[in-house]
């Protein structure tokens, strides 16, 4: 299928826009590399989740309206954040356009699932020669089913692992707890600071125990939280969004000069 005929809207969540522009750039470049025609409506802001998860769903309505106006003419909307995508998929409701919102909800995809389920990518040209731990964001995993959860007695699968396994030189490490929450949780990270930090410390420790050099994931919010804890403890372990890894160029073989 030729994807260049489709209009793909890029939704970059507010905190990624402000703090992690490189994740937005990697997502855009990756999609373009794969032949997509991507548009980024520059007046976008936020999915509305911070308000809604705090109990103020009604205050998220202006964000819903904005999202609807900017993206309703797209064939697909893609975003490098499982949590924001899940929120939109479950709650998007623009004023007086409840039914149309439901249609739009279905066209919104998290980056990884867009690559595996819509583009059906089977081969990725990328190189990342490091030991990498995968942190599964809960909303992406249990909400969007990016991978099987350990709670269920059901066949295992993992969309992000499928992609990461194709990255040259990347060594995916095992973890003691494959899908424990990192404790970010939106406003939870400040309103329940003590538990949030302890959860994050425990997640980080699991990766360090297994000698990770990088922690990756498809949710930058989890990674921001884990990154803040890593940095405070002066750890060498770094965070890297999965888009950045999948977009990391294969190093060109430099021909050895003839002596």
């Amino acid at each position: 299928m030729n994807y260049s005929s489709l209009k793909i809207g890029l939704f970059i969540p507010c905190y990624v826009d402000q703090f992690y522009p490189q994740v937005g750039i990697a997502t855009l470049e990756l999609l373009e590399k794969l032949g997509c025609r991507v548009t980024f409506p520059t007046n976008q802001t936020c999915c509305g989740q911070p308000m809604a998860n705090s109990g103020f769903e009604h205050l998220a309505r202006p964000c819903d309206n904005l999202f609807f106006d900017l993206f309703s003419d797209c064939d697909y909307v893609v975003s490098p954040s499982g949590s924001c995508v899940l929120h939109i998929k479950e709650h998007l409701k623009a004023d007086n356009r409840a039914d149309e919102s439901k249609v739009l909800r279905k066209r919104v995809y998290e980056l990884v699932e867009f690559l595996t389920d819509i583009l059906k990518i089977e081969h990725i040209e990328a190189e990342f020669p490091y030991r990498v731990g995968l942190h599964q964001g809960c909303h992406g995993q249990r909400g969007l089913h990016l991978s099987q959860m350990s709670e269920l007695n059901a066949a295992p699968f993992s969309k992000p692992v499928f992609l990461l396994k194709q990255v040259k030189g990347l060594e995916l490490i095992d973890l003691d707890r494959t899908d424990e929450c990192c404790g970010f949780g939106g406003t939870f990270c400040v309103s329940e600071e003590a538990v949030s930090v302890k959860m994050g410390k425990d997640r980080v420790a699991d990766h360090i125990r297994h000698n990770a050099e990088y922690i990756t994931g498809s949710d930058m919010s989890c990674l921001m939280h884990l990154g803040g804890i890593l940095k405070r403890s002066n750890s060498n372990v770094q965070i890297k969004h999965i888009a950045e890894i999948l977009n990391s160029a294969v190093k060109k073989q430099i021909p050895v000069p003839i002596a």
Binding site: P21, S54, C138, A154, G183, A194, V195, M224
Partner: protein
Amino acid sequence: MSKTIMEHSEASEVFNRDEPYVDWHDETLWFVRQKRDKSSKLLPEWEELRETASQIKNYVLSELDELLVQFEQKAKENGVHVHWAANAAEHNEIVLNLLKQHGITAMVKSKSMLTEECHMNEFLSKNGIDVIDTDLGERIVQLRKEPPSHIVLPAIHLKKKDIGDLFHEHLGTEAGATDPQYLAEAARQHLRDKFMTRRAALTGVNFAVADTGAFVVATNEGNADMGAHLADIHIASMGFEKIIPKQEHLGVFLRLLARSATGQPVTAYNSHFKKPREGQEMHIIIVDNGRTTQLGRADFRNSLKCIRCGACMNTCPVYRRSGGHSYHNAVAGPIGSILAPNLDMTKYADLPFASTLCGSCSNVCPVKIDIHDQLYKWRQVLAKGGHVPQTKGIGIRAMSMVLSQPRFYQWSGRLGRSVMRTVPFMVNNSLNPWYKQRDMPEPPKESFRDWYVRNRKE
């Protein structure tokens, strides 16, 4: 009393001051979750069982009126006395009156979260009744004068040393003893005397079977049987949602209950009670205490499907790192957080926020309660009802204002990042809860949007 209650976040902060203890608490409960995983994965039909149990409970909730009346009738035919209690106070009065009628001043009690919910022990002791909890964990917390911290494992927050010290003080065991077998034997001897001398026994009810009028009590220690068989009067207290339609449905629930709770294939004692033995009186108290209200809340009614296995607590990453007491409710953890606000929205307004909404609870739940979705929905109800702190409302309103207006958002972002770069102490200070134990992200000069406009926009 309400003044001394700490909110969940505050109590968790205290709990987390002893990090090695938190690690131990987390590992202990994670071990139980892993046992649950192992035993549930031995059953190929596990997910089908969960679905079946969920459907049976859905049926129960929609036919509750009929089923309860049917149960009452059958139980009466079996020679059991049936009482109805609209609330906790009525329940407690019924128990007290029954004891008074028989001139009884001391009673043994096996585990019943309902009596915790009704604060029955407190009430009875004020009225001169001596209640002895016979579940080992319950007896331990009773001696410590504190509530259980877990519905299945009441004393899971305590270490062997704590028990040793407690038993030394109350049961006269050797000082410093921590051998579990020695301590359990001491408790056994202590409780045996109580069993032999108490004329009344109260038990909970795990399942009440509508078509037979019988009920089942599940224990691992056999203490429910011991109490009920030796007593002249057996009182069983049940929340009205404990009904199941038929005897054959027990096969579904009993298989799920023990595996979900502890990973055991079956509880050590599933005691079936149907009619009193000769010379004994058997009473069942069917309690509402807010359940009708919950049943009427469309978004929350299916919380009444709960079979009290505790799996959602064991899996909850927040519960494991904050302890049961931080929930200041008889039932802690995720399920407690969706049940409690029904009883008192002001007092329990903090609980639905004590979650990251990770969704693990809903997926271990043997009766498929959508716990994390209900936590989200309770937040909406509580915010609308004015039960969240005003300062929070103001903050969220300000956030909404910024995020609703693209240009204002872009301007604020630029300003914020510039402040973080030039005067970082404005953000990196003790007023910022993020910064207390985490570094802030490095603020880039350019947002993604700015980059896009500069590089891609014609």
